[in-house]
């Protein structure tokens, strides 16, 4: 059988495509849920209308995203059984538990309360309505936690023993607390959530800039832009801190992955950080290497002189331990995905820091840049500190597109962490080639790969078009009903008090309908 079309290869492609695709919606969902909840809380507490408009606007974009996140998530749960049945048999005892917890604790929360939030504008008092989006937000975070606990077990298996039953070996759980709370889980979770915060902040900033550039919805968007920038800035700080911790943990647990990320073929002391490398995988060395000495040692071990093991030595070590074979992941993929992750993350960091600086209070309020309360301040700074107007214009226009940078960064992050683990599906315990479904034919996997890719591509076009439509449309005008939510559960008009009203109100259109 042609290796390129072997069921294992196809199943891996399918997993990669469906996972990366699913994960475009996950970080956006996590952060937009929280941001929407924050905005609605601001509306409930202050009663200022622009907060409500912002809630409705960002909430709508959130809903368009979560719809895709939910439906693509279903595939994630079922493809373990479909394409990776031997994996499921081997680790189901351990891996299934966090998945079931996720469904029972997080999914039910999310999906039930999102229904209440969408349709509940005229049915719930505003504080209660606000609480539903907070519960959705908590649900998204819990869901991420359980899934990352499951993934962390694949990266660094703990709390299990290998048992033989009916002639086949499988892993059995011995300590669930270890799986849920091991360092790998916590550090990974911190990194993923930080990145999600960054993604949502950048998304909000980019869209707010779009409207400010057009000088529309200024009040709402100016507030959104600042909120987005602060969010992105906090996210980027947390991402860097968690990345540093995660890197060190990885060097302890998965040195091969990290050395592959650096194309560090031979063990070195001190080890340099690679800026650019081009090499020959079959010979195991780099032809071109541009490096900064000592930095890798510092990043990995907090010591500029630490010894860092190279790929070739690690491979030999693994061969001694696990028998003959190639224990290297795909080095170019690991190397470049790592760089793209850091690159897009780093650029975002610079941009949101710059954005935060440029839009700080005195620029916003500088009298010469204002003509009215809701006017767009001139970001294109002339005179002493200002850039030329032309550059300024492009600055705005470009910055609007940076909204997707963190999203690209997170996608590469997953590609890195998952390919870097190869050839293992459970690190050091189960090989990917032993995890596929033995009974599933090449044709079947190919069919599903094509089906999912096609349908995901079509949905991507639809989703982006829809997002653009609603982005361009901007925040909605508020109606009387929006500003006077019911005071009693079960509205509409439940708050009006007397029963004589209820007949009229019974025929009032729903505040939201499909």
């Amino acid at each position: 059988m042609d290796l390129a079309l072997a069921p294992e290869t196809l199943a891996r492609w399918q997993f990669g495509i469906t996972t990366v695709y699913h994960f475009l919606f996950v970080p956006l969902t996590i952060s937009l849920a929280a941001l929407t909840a924050i905005l609605e809380t601001a509306w409930v507490r202050t009663g200022k209308e622009h907060y409500l408009r912002a809630t409705k606007f960002w909430g709508k974009l959130f809903l368009i995203n979560i719809a895709m996140g939910v439906v693509t998530g279903i595939v994630q749960e079922f493809q373990f059984g479909m394409n990776w049945s031997d994996y499921s048999r081997f680790v189901g005892d351990i891996f299934g538990a966090p998945l079931a917890f996720e469904a029972l604790i997080a999914f039910f929360f999310e999906s039930t309360f999102i229904g209440l939030w969408i349709f509940g504008w005229d049915k719930l008092p505003k504080k209660l309505h606000c609480a539903t989006i907070w519960i959705v937000s908590i649900g998204t975070v819990l869901s991420a936690y359980f899934i990352i606990a499951a993934n962390a077990f694949m990266q660094h298996p703990v709390g299990y023993k290998i048992v033989e039953r009916d002639g086949t070996k499988r892993a059995e759980l011995t300590d669930f607390a270890k799986v849920l709370f091991q360092e790998t889980t916590i550090v990974n979770f911190a990194h993923v959530i930080s990145a999600a915060i960054l993604v949502g902040g950048a998304f909000m900033t980019g869209i707010a800039i779009f409207h400010l550039r057009k000088k529309q919805h200024v009040r709402t968007m100016r507030m959104s832009m600042r909120l987005g920038l602060v969010t992105a800035f906090v996210g980027t700080l947390l991402t860097v801190i968690s990345a540093d911790t995660l890197g060190k943990v990885m060097y302890e647990q998965q040195p091969m992955k990290m050395s592959a990320a650096e194309a560090l073929w031979e063990t070195e002391k001190p080890a340099p950080f690679s800026l650019f490398a081009y090499g020959d995988v079959s010979k195991g060395h780099n032809d071109v290497a541009i490096e900064i000495p000592g930095i890798l040692s510092f990043l990995a071990k907090n010591n500029f002189n630490a010894e860092i093991p190279g790929i070739n030595d690690l491979n030999k070590e693994a061969q001694e331990k696990f028998g003959p074979g190639d224990y290297r992941p795909n080095i170019p993929t690991a190397y470049w995905s790592y760089r793209w992750m850091i690159g897009f993350g780093g650029v975002s960091m610079v941009l949101c820091t710059a954005g935060l600086w440029l839009t700080r209070k005195k620029f916003w309020l500088a009298p010469e840049h204002r003509t009215g309360a809701d006017d767009v301040p001139k970001l294109m700074l002339t005179k002493k500190r200002e850039l030329t107007p032309k550059l300024g214009k492009w600055w705005w226009r470009l910055s609007q597109w940076t909204l997707i940078f963190p999203l690209i960064g997170t996608a590469w992050g997953w590609i890195f962490t998952e390919t870097g683990r190869q050839p293992w599906v459970v690190y050091g315990v189960l090989r990917t080639e032993d995890a596929v479904s033995p009974g599933v034919s090449q044709g079947e996997v190919l069919t599903s790969l094509i089906a999912f890719t096609l349908i995901y591509a079509i949905l991507a076009v639809i989703e982006v078009k829809l997002l653009l439509k609603y982005i361009k449309k901007g925040p909605p005008e508020l109606t009387e009903a929006d500003l006077n939510p019911p005071t009693k559960i079960g509205g509409p008009g439940a708050g009006k008090g007397s029963d004589s009203d209820s007949d009229d109100d019974a025929d009032r259109p729903m505040a939201f309908s499909y």
Binding site: L99, S111, T112, I462
Partner: protein, 334 residues
């Protein structure tokens, strides 16, 4: 009762929950073409399940996750064995979810019509295929000594399983029609009742055939009781809708679903997936289950979480308890 038996029951309960809840929202999806006369009526129907269908679907995800955790061998054999039908179901669920959320988000007629077609087909096909899948599980499929499914796609399309599929399709549509008559006002409610009556009779004929076949083939005393409950409840549901007791009818059509699913699980036990090749090779609650430790943790989780879930999901139904009609659909809403 050992823990793996408890989990067998819990998984049956999850499927009952799933078919009870998503049963009527699949039914509503099918009825958008059978019952609604115009676009506004379609929207009325869709909005009867608007706030709840997403929560209903999680019952499936939970059933899947719980099977993975409590019976990994069952999960592995079932999902890799029923590969193509499952693929079709997954694609339907993807498109269906998006269709509900996106249909009203653009005003163009073609956009909305396309999503309406999607809602119909992606409700009908899973409603049919779940029955086919369960028919095959109960009947037994070609499982070899390594717990692998060795049959092919066409083996799954046998008369018994297809009859099972038609039963779930008609039963869910009936259940949906009763739900529609319970949740709407005006003309559409009157027609929903009439349609429920007709659908109920068709369902009764098919279901009776399927259940008797099942009982004759695999049944024992317990399954007979479940079967009788299912049949009596179905007849009751039809009678109740005839005399206009919509709430009773809905409760009874729900009981029909619960009892029928319970009957299938009763005929399975202690197998979870019998082998048609050799009885020795069947997957059972013991040889397919997780370790007692995992089951214990899962039991704690389910014991604490399930009542809470039931509580807040019921609350949702209560919040949205009002009937809706064409007057509640604002023209400009999207």
């Amino acid at each position: 009762m050992e823990l793996h038996d408890v989990w067998f029951v819990l998984i049956a309960v999850l499927w009952i929950g799933y078919f009870f809840l998503e049963g009527f929202d699949f039914g509503i999806g099918v009825l958008t073409k059978l019952l609604a006369r115009n676009r506004v009526e379609k929207r009325v129907l869709i909005n009867t399940i608007g706030p709840v269908w997403d929560g209903n679907e999680v019952w499936l995800l939970t059933a899947g996750g719980a099977t993975f955790a409590a019976f990994p061998e069952w999960y592995a054999t079932l999902f890799s064995g029923f590969y193509l039908p499952l693929l079709i179901i997954l694609i339907c669920l993807i498109v269906r979810g998006v269709a509900f959320e996106y249909r009203a988000k653009r005003p163009e007629e073609r956009w909305q019509t396309n999503w309406e077609h999607a809602i119909f087909w992606t409700s009908l096909i899973p409603a049919l295929l779940w029955g086919v899948a369960f028919g095959n599980i109960v009947r037994g499929v070609k499982i070899d000594a390594h717990k692998e499914y060795v049959g092919n796609f066409w083996d799954l399309l046998n008369p018994y399983a297809i009859l099972g599929g038609l039963v779930t399709l008609t039963l869910f549509t009936f259940h949906g029609a009763v739900f529609a008559s319970l949740k709407t006002v005006g003309d559409i409610r009157v027609r929903a009742r009439k349609m429920a009556l007709g659908l109920g009779l068709v369902t009764a004929v098919l279901a009776l055939g399927f259940l008797i076949w099942t009982q004759a083939d695999k049944g024992d005393g317990k399954s007979l009781i479940a079967m009788i409950v299912a049949v009596v409840a179905l007849v009751g549901a039809i009678a109740a809708i005839k005399i206009g007791r919509e709430g009773w009818s809905f409760a009874l059509s729900g009981i029909t679903i619960a009892a029928a699913v319970a009957m299938l699980f009763l005929t399975l036990f202690p197998n979870v997936m019998p082998s048609s090749l050799n009885e020795e090779w069947s997957l059972t609650v013991t040889n397919a289950s997780s370790s007692p430790y995992t089951l214990k943790i899962m039991t704690w989780c389910a014991g604490v979480a399930t009542p809470v879930v039931l509580l807040y999901q019921s609350w949702t139904y209560w919040v949205f308890r009002k009937r809706i009609g064409t007057q509640h659909i604002a023209d400009a809403a999207h």
